[in-house]
Amino acid sequence: MATTTGRPPLWRDVRVLAWTFQIAVVLVVVAIVFWLLDNLRVNSQRLNIPTGFGHLDQPSSFPIPGSDFRQTQPVRDALVEGFQNTLRLAITGIALATVAGVLIGIARLSQNFIVRSAARAYVEFVRNVPLFCLLFVMYGAVVLNAFPRVADSWDVGPVAIVNVRGASTFWFEGGNWKFVVALLSAGIVAFLVARWRSRIADRTGTPGRTGLWALPTAAVVLVVVWIVLGLGATAPEIDGARVTGGITMTPEYFAALAALVIYTSSHVAEIVRGSIQAVPRGQGEAANALALSGFQRLWHVVLPQAMRIGVPPIGNQYLNLAKNSSLAAAISFPELTKVTQLTVANRSPAVPSFALLLGIYLVLSLVISLFVNLANRRLAIVER
C-alpha cells in the first residue's frame, strides 16, 4: 500500500481491462465466424455441394413471366431480370407512397371533420395490419376474385383493358432509345421553360405560372419528336382468350405495388403529420398575416420546413419499402427474391445464391441511403 499515487496493478487498471475485454470480444467473434465458415466449407465439400459462383453461367431452366427471358439463358441473366423487377417495384412504389403519404398526412390535419377522420381511420387501420396479409388480400381477394376474366374484361377502348391477366394500355412502338430521346427532350424543354418563367417572376414580381407554361410545351415537344423519330403507337386488343398489343401490367405486379404503397403511405403520412406539427405555429400565422392562400401557406411556408424534419425518417420508410418488395415473392411476382428461389430450385447451390441475394439488397439499401442523405444535406439549414 505504499504506492497509493502510482498506477494500479494491471488486473485493476481500468484502461487495460477495457482494452483486454474488447480485444477478447473481437477475437471470439472472429473465431466464431471462422469456425462457422470452415464448417460450411467442410460440410459442403463432404456433400459435394459447390460453394463458388460457377452456377451463374449455367442455363437457368426456367422462363420468367412478363419478360422475354427464356429458359436457355444463364442464371446471371435471370438475376438481372429479377433485379430489374425489384427496381420497378421499389422506384414506382417510393414515388407513389410519397405522394399518397404527403396527401394523407396533410389530410390528417384538415379542418374538415370527415376528411380528418377518414385519413385517421386509413392510417390507423393500414399501419396496424401486417404487410404480408395486405399483400395476400390484394392478390387473393382483390385481383383474383374482383377482376373479370378475359372474355368479360373492363374495356375502355384503347385507353385501358383490365382483367385478371393484367391491365393493358396503349404504348409506343419502335426503338427503346427513340422513346428515351423523346422523353428526355420533352423533359429538358419543360425544365428550361420553367426556369425562364421563374426568372421572369423573380424579376418582375408577376406570378410565374411555371406549371401552366412548362407542361403544355413539353407535351407539344413530345408529340413533335415522336412524329419526327417515326415512333408508332400500339393499342391493346382482345384477341380471343388473350389481350395483344399495348403494354400490360401483370396482376402480380399490381397487387405487390398496391400493397407496398398502401402500407408505406400510412407510415409516411404519420411522419408528415408529425413534421408539420413540429413547424412553429407562428410560421403558419405569419403566412396568414401575409394573406397567402391555404395552398401557398402549405407549399411555400410550412412544407419546406416540415420536410427538413421529415426527410430522415421518410428515408427509412423508403429503405423499408425496397426491402419489403421481397415479400412479393409470396404472390409469385418474379422479383429478385423469387428469381433466386427459382434458381435454387433449379440446381443453383443455396448458400452462394442467398449470400449473393443478401449482398444485392445491401447495395440497393446503401444506394437509397446515399440519395436520402444527399437530399437531407440539400434541405438542411445552411449555417453561416
Binding site: 471462422f34 465458415l37 464448417n39 460440410n43 426456367f62 422462363p63 413471366p65 429458359q71 376474366r149 443455396a350
Partner: protein
Amino acid sequence: MRRTFIRGLVPLAALSLVAGACSDTGDEGGEPAPSGSGAAPTTGGTDDTGTTPGSVATGSTPTTAEEVQTGESLLDTVSAADVVRCGVRDDLPGFSSLDDAGEHVGFDADFCRVIAAAVLGDATKVEFVDLETDARFTALQSGEIDVLVRNTTWTASRDGIEGATFLHPTYYDGQQMMVAADAGFESIDDMDGAVVCVAGGTTSEGNVATEFARRDLTVEVQSFEDVDLLQEAFIAGRCDGWSSDGSQLVGLRSSFPDGPDALVIFDDIFSKEPLTPAVRDNDTRWAQAVEWAIYATIQAEEYGITQANVGDMAAGDNAAIVQFLGGENADGVTLDAGLGLDPAFAMNVVSQVGNYGEIFERNLTDLGLERGLNALWGDGGLQYAPPYR
C-alpha cells in the same frame, strides 16, 4: 401461413449447414469407427490445420475434420433416435396429404412408413416433416430430414449438385397438361400464347417452356410456390393451363372444387419424371438400407405376399419366400444380407404397411391412376427388384 413460414426457413436451413457438424456429434454415441462410406479426402485434415487462422479456430478444426473422416452412418443415428425423419408434403392428395385426424396419408407417406418398418421394426416411428418444394434439398443437405420422399424427380444435376443420392423410383411419372373442360382446347397445339401455371421450384417450368418451344408455340409460364394459391389463380382465369406430373394432376383434379369433370387432362406426356426417394450423398449404408426397404415392397408383390397372408407365407414351405421374410430355412439358418437391417425387415414392411401393389391401390387407384409403367416387370411395367439372396 405455416407453409410460407417453412419457405422462409430456406436461407436459415442453408445457414444451418454451417452448424451441421455440431449436430452430428450430438447424435453419435458409439466409438468413431473408420467407415467405408465417409468419402472425405484424407488430405482434407492437413489442409484444414494448415489454412485455419487463429488459435481458437485451430482448436475446433481437427474435430471437424475427424468427423468428416469417421462420420457415422445415418443408419446408426436413426436407430439411436428410434425415429425416421421423413421429408414429405401435406397438400397432394394420393401422395401425401393430411386426413381428418391430421395424419399423413398417401403413397409417399406410406413409403416413409415402409422405411421405418424396415429400419426400426415399427411403421409408426416416422416424424413427418412438411417441406415446400424449394426447401426440400436444403432440408436434406442440412440434416433436417433423414430421407426425402416427396414426389421428387431424379435428374442428373440434382444427383450431382444438390448433394442427394437417389434410390429406386417408387413411381414412374411424366408431365402433362390440364385445362378447363369448357376452355375449348383440344390439345397443346391449340394453346399458342397461353398462360400456363405450374408449381414453382420444380422441373415443370422448364419442361413446359421447352415443350412449347419444340412445338413452335409461345407460352407464358407463371409459377406458384403454393398449390392452393395456384388453384385459386387457375379458377380465377389467371391461367389457361395447369401443368404438372400426371399423377399430381389426377390427384388435384379429384379434389377440384367444381368437381373433376370441370377439368380435362391431355394425353400427351412430355417429360420423364421418375419420382424417387433420396438421401444425402456419401452415406452408402443408409442409402442401401432405405433402398432395400423399397425393394422389399416390390419383391413381396412379386412373391404374392400381402398384408393378409404374410403370416402364412412366412410359415410356408417356399424356401425363397421364407428366406426373404427372415425365417429359418430347413436347416435352421437365417439369411442376414448384411444391410444393417433386421433379417425380418421384409416381414415387418409387408405386415405393417403392405406390398407395392397394396400401397399403390390403397392410395392411388381411387384417384383414377393406373399401374401403367409402375406395374411389375412381369406385367410389362418397370418395377423390378434385384434378387434377395
